[in-house]
Structures are given as C-alpha cells and as structure tokens.
C-alpha cells in the first residue's frame, strides 16, 4: 500500500479543519501518516482518518520558519517511502512544499482542489474558467491543497503514534524568529474554512459593524478588501485576494467592494457570489449571481433583520 504524509496545521491544541481535509484526500491514496511539530495538536488528531501520527521533536519548530519543517519532511519521505506529501495551500504551506520539492528532487503541484487515488490533481485556474488535471512525474508527489475543497470523513480507528528526531542542517537555521504575534483568533469561523464569507471594502468607510452583524446572523467569517486593510479598518490577516487569502465558500458576499482583479483572484471560485454596491457599474456585478445596487448601510441591516425574522 502507498503511504502518504500529511502536514498537520493548527495552534494552541486546536487542529485546523484543513488537516482533516488533507487526511480525507490522503485516505483515497493509501496509509495516512500525519506529521505533527506541535505536540499540543496530537490529541485533536483522533477525529480524522489518520493511520499513524509521527511527532517530530528535537528542535524548536517555532524558532526557524519553514526550512527545518521541509528538511524533516524530506527525511520522513525516505524513512516512510512516501508516495506523496499533502500540505495545505497557505503562504507557509506552499513555501515548505517548495523547499521540500528541491530537497527531495520531486515535482510539485500547488493550489489543487482535488487529488484522486492515482495522484492526479485538479486545479481551478483563470478565475475558475478552466479546470486543469495534472500529475507529478518525478520523485514524491508534493501537492498543496486549498482549504474547504472536500467534505471531511471521520476517523475509523485510533492512530498509532511514534516519535521522530530529524537532523536539521545549519543552513535551515540561518533565519531565526526573534518574536511573534499570533493572528488574533476571534469568535468567528476561520476565513479559509468558513462556508459563508461576508467581506467589506472601501465602501464601509471604516465602519465594519453592519458587515459583522450580517456575518454573525449567518455564522459567517468576515473578510476585507485591500483598501480596507490598508486603511487599518480590518486586520491584514482578513484580506481576501491575490496577496491575501483565497477563499472558496458556498456563499461570498462583497459589500462596498468594487471587484478589482486582485480582489477577484481570492474569491471568484466561490460557489455563489452576492454583491452590494452603490455603483451599478461596479465590476463586481460582472461575477455576482445576485447583485443589490444600493447603500450597504441600508441593505445590510435590512438583510440582517430579515434573517432574524426567519429564525
């Protein structure tokens, strides 16, 4: 049977949902080996379709960003004869995958939305207008997968657990983390995991309250355009777009966002797109399934009230 390494994501004892998605994909291919660098996450792995958990230790993974993670995974590819490594498509995930591809002499595919039992991936490119099927033809298949692309399957058995101490080169320790501020974790769902995202742009004029109230009525995550994050109205970690996060929820609601190409790059593969904008000519309406031409300060509170009335 093939074995597949998946890189576990999460923080403070909370395993990211995307890790469950990686396990779900990996289970189609073979034995699922979860590689975890943060021991606090081990307990949370029992919920997913994982056969084996490898706890990597012997160095402080939080002190040197991606390099030592990539070296550890490369060593595990050899010891476990892995056919594939699946990693979540985040900024950090893709960098780890890139280094890993170089070290292990393997091909790499990023931003896949699907991978089948034969390791053939599907990517959605050019704003969702084109589906590309691809495979890795050399070495171990290094694949990064977008969040929210598959329904997570549950665990079938308790995974076995082992420890692994990699050899970390001096080169991997050249850049050191001197301090860090973890992204603030609010009460709302994580942007890339949420099935509904409500985003605000320059049109909010700095007042995100109606956006947040509507988001909360739907149990949604809150996103923002670059105009809103640059102005300091919302944290950068909530930016949706080319240089922000890529989201692909069931429903995306753009409020006071014009729909610049860089914003679209992060949301245009959403299943259903709604836009609220004062300007009937705003480009966001070109891709909206439902557009309301109007002032978000009127439309959003009315919509929030209508949701409350339905409950």
């Amino acid at each position: 049977m093939k074995s597949v390494l998946i890189l576990v994501d999460g923080a403070n004892g909370q395993v990211a949902k995307s890790t469950g998605e990686l396990a779900t994909f990996a289970k189609r291919i073979g034995e699922v080996i979860a590689v975890v660098f943060d021991p606090s996450l081990v307990a949370g792995l029992g919920a997913y379709a994982i056969d084996k958990v490898v706890v990597v230790g012997g160095f402080d993974a939080t002190k040197f960003s991606p390099a030592p993670i990539a070296e550890s995974l490369a060593q595990l590819i050899t010891t476990k004869s892995a056919s594939a490594v699946l990693i979540t498509s985040s900024a950090r995930g893709k960098e780890i995958a890139g280094r890993l591809a170089v070290i292990s002499g393997s091909g790499i595919i990023t931003d896949a939305i699907d991978v089948d039992a034969d390791l053939i991936t599907t990517q959605s490119v050019f704003g969702g207008s084109t589906s590309v099927h691809a495979n890795v033809s050399h070495g171990t298949a290094i694949i990064t997968l977008r969040s929210n692309a598959v329904e997570v399957i549950a665990a079938s058995a308790t995974p076995t657990q082992e420890d692994f101490t990699p050899t970390i080169s001096d080169m991997a320790k050249l850049a050191t983390v001197t301090s860090s501020q973890p992204a603030a974790k609010g009460g709302r769902p994580e942007l890339t995991e949420a099935s509904i995202v409500v985003s605000g742009g320059r049109g909010t004029n700095g007042d995100f309250k109606p956006v947040e109230a509507f988001a909360d009525s739907l149990g949604a995550a809150v996103g923002a355009s670059r105009a809103a994050t640059d102005a300091g109205w919302y944290p950068h970690t909530h930016q949706v777009g080319q240089t922000g996060k890529t989201v692909s929820p069931q429903l995306y609601v753009a409020c006071g966002i014009s729909g610049a190409i860089q914003h679209r790059a992060g949301m245009q593969t959403s299943k259903l797109i709604v836009a609220i904008n004062k300007d009937p000519e705003a480009p966001i309406f070109e891709l909206a399934d439902y557009g309301v031409v109007g002032d978000l300060f009127n439309v959003l509170p009315a919509a929030t009230a209508a949701i409350a009335a339905k409950k």
């Binding site: 960003s65 893709k94 280094r99 050019f126 850049a175 031409v293 439309v299 209508a306």
Partner: protein, 269 residues
C-alpha cells in the same frame, strides 16, 4: 552592498487568459512587469538610498541593484521598466530551451545566476500573477543555502552588521525574523508604494546594460530545464461552463429582504 531583484514579465492580469494546449497562452495578451516585483525593486531602491552618502541610488551610492529575469525576448520591456525605476543593470536569461519550465527549473536557473554575482541580498515578489505559486523565493533560498526571509511586510537592513530583519506576515500572524547576509527576501504589497519611473529615469534606462545569457553561458544542460524536464505534467485543461448572468436589483428599501429570499431559495441559509 550588492543587491539583486528577481523580476518576471507576466501577462497583464486584466487580460483574459487561456491555455494553448498544456501551457498558458502568453502570445495573445499584453505583458507587464509582475506588480509585486515592483515592490521588490522599490524596497531595494529605498535601502540603497538610505545607505547612500548622496541619499540617492546609482553608481555613486557604493551599492548596486541588478535585475535578474528569466523569460522570452520581450521580457526586455519589463526589465527596462525596472531599470527606469532606478536599478543599475540587468541580467536576462533567454533561451528557447527554457520554454515550459516549471518552478523547479526557474529556481535552478535564477540560483545559478545569483551564485556567480556575489550578491548580499536577493529580493523577490511574494508571487507572480501568472504562476501564482509563491514558491520560487523559498526554492532559491534552499538552492543557494541562504537565509530565507519571505513574506516581508517590512525590512530593515544594517549594512555595518551585514544583518537584515523583517516582519514576516502570513496566516499564522507576524513573525519578526533576522538573519545575516546573504539572504533571499520576498516582499508583500504592504511594504511600500512603488515609484513611477521619472522622465529622467526612463532616459537613463535606455543606456543601462541588459546582459543576455543563454543556458550554455550558465553551464546548464538543456535536459535540466524546459517543458520536457518539468516534474509535473498537465494532462488536460478543460473550459468550465461560464457563470450565467446574475440577477441585479435596485434597492428601494426591500433590497435586503429580497437578498435574503434569494439566499433562502438557493438553500444557503
């Protein structure tokens, strides 16, 4: 200080893109300098200006900025734009054998050029708008054996100490990182506001050197790069049905409730 900036020419992001067989059809669309690479050039310029006795970039500053680009002949236009912003010179790797190269081959070629240039710092954008892989800077650091300082939202360089500090901004939050030269740095779009080339800059750029290099100049065998050497293969690319035209309503007080009716009808709420 010797600084290199890796710049790529990409299809204009507003242009409609399509596939030509297994690869992106680049011929039919306008090409521009990858916008994030402008931020990388700007950052290099600001560092040189801050450390220059005359507070200006250029040969008198004692520091040099070399643009490095791999791409077809017409990538020259993007390189020229970077030179007109104020970079000093450029190396352009151009060879028919490079067509269809994957990120692994691109990083191999760029690392090869960087190795022979005696650079202290290499700047990149965080992502090219066509490939959208965000992996080349990390691959470069790995291939060169240099420090990787990527996704920088701010950069501070201490030339005396040969040290560079960044604030790395990713989904996990902010990590303050530091390393000694040499380092590969990628910058995001929060870091600065790239300058427009001035008339003087445009005129000066016409006289600046763009050195063309072929694979044989770099000692790279053609079997290591290009489409045939790619370690990932596109099997097929299928057009998906286009999104149908949506519904658009004018709000006259009932826009919010109509919207909610639509969401209920679509069963998303």
């Amino acid at each position: 200080m010797r600084i290199a900036v890796c710049v790529k020419q990409v299809p204009d992001s507003w242009a409609e893109k399509k596939m030509n067989g297994q690869v992106l059809d680049r011929a039919g669309v306008d090409a521009v300098l990858n916008d994030l690479d402008e931020y990388a050039i700007e950052q290099a310029l600001q560092i040189v200006e801050a450390n220059s006795p005359t507070k200006e970039a250029g040969p008198e500053s004692g520091h040099t900025i070399t643009l490095i680009s791999m791409g077809p002949d017409r990538a020259n236009e993007a390189i020229r734009k970077g030179l007109s912003m104020g970079a000093d010179e450029a190396i352009h790797v151009v060879d028919d054998g490079l067509a269809g190269s994957d990120a692994l081959a691109t990083s191999l070629v760029l690392a090869n050029v960087i190795k022979s240039g005696n650079f202290d710092l290499v700047f990149c954008g965080t992502e090219s708008t066509d490939a959208r892989m965000s992996v080349v800077p990390a691959m470069l650091a790995q291939r060169l054996g240099w420090a990787q300082l990527t996704f920088a939202a701010s950069v501070a360089v201490d030339v005396g100490l040969s040290e560079v500090k960044i604030a790395r901004a990713t989904e996990v939050g902010i990590e303050n990182m530091s390393a000694k030269f040499p380092a590969v740095i990628s910058v995001n779009e929060k870091i600065n506001e790239p300058r427009y080339p001035s008339f003087k800059g445009i005129m000066a750029a016409k006289k600046k050197s763009i050195q063309a290099k072929s694979l044989s100049d770099l000692g790279i065998t053609p079997s290591e790069v290009g489409g045939k050497a790619a370690w990932s293969n596109v099997k097929d690319a299928l057009l998906r049905p286009a999104r149908g035209a949506g519904i658009k309503v004018e709000d006259s007080g009932d826009g919010g409730s109509k919207l909610v009716d639509f969401l209920a009808e679509k069963r998303v709420i």
